[in-house]
Amino acid sequence: MTEPLMEVEHLCKYFPAGKKRLLKAVDDVSFSIYPGETLGLVGESGCGKTTCSRTLLRLYEPTSGSVRFKGREIVRQSSKELLAFKKDAQMIFQDPYSSLDPRMTIAEIVAEGMQVHMPASRQTIQKRVTELLAKVGLTEDYANRFAHELSGGQRQRVGIARALAVDPEFIVCDEPISALDVSIQAQIINLLLHLQREKGLTYLFISHDLSMVRHISDRVGIMYLGKLVELGNCEEIFEKPLHPYTKALIAAIPEADPDAGSQCRFRLEGEVPSPVNPPSGCRFRTRCAYADERCARELPQLQQIKPGRSVACHYWKTLQSDPDCKE
C-alpha cells in the first residue's frame, strides 16, 4: 500500500462551553488519507465533520493528537513552518456567499494566495488568474467583477479557482454543494471530478448528502457526536453497512425512484444528544435499537475488522447475522 498523504492520530478538539464544561467537537479521531483518493466524511449536523476538517488544516488549534502531512508533523509547528503546508492543503468552503470578500474583485480573490505563496510579476499572475478562471468554467469578463454580481454556482467556482491557485495536492471540500441547486450541484461535482483526474488531487469531501458522497468518494468515514464510528471502502459501506448508525443513515436517504418502496425498516428515532453532555459509553446508544448495559458502560473503540475497514460497535458481529437489520 502507498504511503498515506495525511495521517491523523487521536485528534481532539474541545471548545470551552461555560461552567468549566467542554464541548468535545472532535474526540479521539484517527484516519489516513492516501494520495489521489477522495475520502468522504458523513454525519448529521453538529457531529464534528467541519471542526475535524478545520482542525486538520490548523484553522483551529487541536487540543491534542497529531496530524502528519507527507510524514511531517504539523500540529506543533510555527506559522512560518506552516506556510509550505498551507500551500499544499487548501479548502473550499460551504457557503459561497460568505466565503468571498465582498470588497475584492474576483481576480484579486484568486490572485491573493499566489502573491503569498509563489510571488511572480503582475503579468504572470494575471495570466495565471485567467487560466484558472477558464479551468473552472468562467470567462475572462468575470475577473473584474465582484462576488455579489455572481450566482451561487459561479461563486463556488471562484472558491474552487482560489483553492487551485497555489497548486495544492490536498483540498478539503466542506459541503461545497449543499448551498446550490440540483442542476448546479451536478456541474460542481463534475468539475471537482475532472480536476481530480487532471491534477491527481486528493480530496476530503464533507457532506450530509449521502448519495453525492457515494458518487464521488473512494472511501467513506461516518461520524457521530465527535467520534468516527465506521470507516471503509465506499462500495462496502453502502452495500454492507456494519454500524447501526450507518445503516440508519443509509436507510434515511430518499431515493429518486418511485418503485423503491416507501417504508423503510430501519428508521432512526429521536435526535442527536447535546455534545456538551454526551451519553456515557457508546455515544449512539440513546438512539440505537440494539443497545444494552455494556454499551452504556464501555465506549466501543474503532477496531479494524479487516484491512481498510473499521467499525466502532460492540456488537457488529452479531448484528451482521441479524436478519432484521440487513439492508
Binding site: 442542476s183 464521488i216 418511485p258
Partner: protein, 341 residues
C-alpha cells in the same frame, strides 16, 4: 373526483426598479381532496410564488396577481374574498409550513401559546380548551414530552422539533389543504425522513390534501401522487409520479432526473449537468423558456410557445417534440442506462 382547489391562468408579477418581473406566467392546475401534489424545479422558477399566491400572501405593493387569474377553493373565488373571510380562509381552510422553522415561529411566544392563539381565533375556543387541543396537536406530531414543550420557546427546541411544532400549528384548525414549502430543506437526512414519515401518516389519517414544494426529487418519488415540473414561471410537464419518473417527455424533466446521482449507479462517473442558467424573468418570453439550454432545441422552439400536449389523462407536456411532425428522440438518460447495463 372531489376537487377542492382550481387554479386557472395564474399570473403573478413583482414590481421592481428594474421593471416588472413576471414570476408566474399562466399556471393552471387543480387539486383533489386527500391527494399530494408536488411542485418541482430549480430555485427561482416560481414554485414558492405560486403556492404563496394561493394563500394570497402575494399582495400589493410588492407583488401583483394579474387580472384574469382565477383561484377557486371549493367553488369560492379566493381572489374576491374580503378581509374577514380571508382571515378565516388562511389557517382554517388552507395553511402553510415554511422552509425555515427558525424564522417562521414567533421567538417571543411559547410554542403552546402560538398554537392556542390560532385555536382561540379560528375555532373560538376558551383558553383551557385551547390548551388541551394544543397538547393534543403536539402529541399528534409525535413530540416526546409534549406537556413540557407547550411552555418552551422556539429557541429551546432543535430544528426537527421546531418543524414538528410548525406542522402542529398548521394542522391545528384541521385545514383541508396543507401547503408545505420545502419543509425539509433545512433539516438533516435522518430528521428529514422522520418529518416526511410524519406528514405521510398525518395525510392518511386526516385526509388533508398536501401541496409540496421541493427541489428534491428523491423526496417526491415516495411521497407525492402527482408531480408538476416548473420552469421560468410555467409548468412544463405534469403527470403522476410513475409517469414523470418512467415516461418523462420533456427534456427539462430528463435533465432534472439525470442530475441526481442514483444510489445504485456506479461511482465516479460524470453526472449529467445542465449548462447555462434559467432565462431572465424581466424579459418578455414568447418562445419555449427552456430553448436556450435544451439539447434538442429546434427552430420553432425559439419562435413560438409550445402548447401543452396531452399524453394521457394525467400526463401533459409543453414541448415541441410532442408535435406529430417533430423528430422522434430518445431521452439521453435512457441512452446512459443502456450503456451501464
Amino acid at each position: 373526483m372531489d376537487r377542492i382547489l382550481d387554479v386557472k391562468n395564474l399570473r403573478v408579477s413583482f414590481h421592481t426598479y428594474a421593471g416588472e418581473i413576471k414570476a408566474v406566467r399562466g399556471v393552471d392546475f387543480s387539486l383533489n381532496r386527500g391527494e399530494t401534489l408536488a411542485f418541482v424545479g430549480e430555485s427561482g422558477c416560481g414554485k414558492s410564488v405560486t403556492v404563496k399566491s394561493l394563500m394570497r400572501l402575494m399582495e400589493p405593493p410588492f407583488a401583483e396577481i394579474k387580472e384574469g387569474s382565477r383561484i377557486q377553493y371549493n367553488g369560492e373565488d379566493v381572489l374576491a374574498m374580503n378581509k374577514t373571510r380571508l382571515r378565516e380562509y388562511r389557517g382554517s381552510d388552507v395553511s402553510m409550513i415554511f422552509q425555515d422553522p427558525m424564522t417562521s415561529l414567533n421567538p417571543t411566544m411559547t410554542c403552546g401559546r402560538q398554537i392556542e392563539e390560532t385555536l382561540i381565533l379560528h375555532r373560538k375556543l376558551k383558553k383551557a380548551e385551547a390548551r388541551k387541543q394544543a397538547l393534543r396537536g403536539l402529541e399528534l406530531v409525535r413530540i416526546p414530552d409534549a406537556e413540557k414543550c407547550l411552555d418552551k420557546y422556539p429557541h429551546q427546541l432543535s430544528g426537527g422539533m421546531r418543524q414538528r411544532v410548525m406542522i402542529a400549528l398548521a394542522l391545528a384548525c384541521k385545514p383541508s389543504i396543507l401547503i408545505a414549502d420545502e419543509p425539509t430543506t433545512a433539516l438533516d437526512v435522518t430528521i428529514q425522513a422522520q418529518i416526511i414519515d410524519l406528514l405521510r401518516e398525518l395525510r392518511d389519517e386526516t385526509r388533508t390534501a398536501i401541496l409540496l414544494v421541493t427541489h428534491d426529487l428523491g423526496l417526491v418519488a415516495n411521497f407525492a401522487d402527482r408531480i408538476q415540473v416548473m420552469y421560468a414561471g410555467q409548468i412544463l410537464e405534469r403527470g403522476t409520479v410513475s409517469e414523470i419518473f418512467h415516461r418523462a417527455a420533456h427534456p427539462y424533466t430528463w435533465a432534472l432526473l439525470s442530475s441526481v446521482p442514483k444510489l445504485a449507479k456506479c461511482a465516479k462517473q460524470e453526472l449529467y449537468s445542465l449548462c447555462g442558467t434559467p432565462p431572465d424573468l424581466l424579459l418578455p418570453l414568447n418562445h419555449c423558456p427552456f430553448a436556450a439550454r435544451c439539447e434538442y432545441c429546434m427552430q420553432i422552439c425559439k419562435e413560438r410557445m409550445p402548447e401543452e400536449s396531452v399524453l394521457s389523462e394525467t400526463h401533459r407536456c409543453a414541448c415541441w417534440l410532442q408535435h406529430p411532425n417533430a423528430p422522434h428522440v430518445k431521452p439521453f438518460y435512457e441512452r446512459e442506462v443502456c450503456r451501464h447495463d
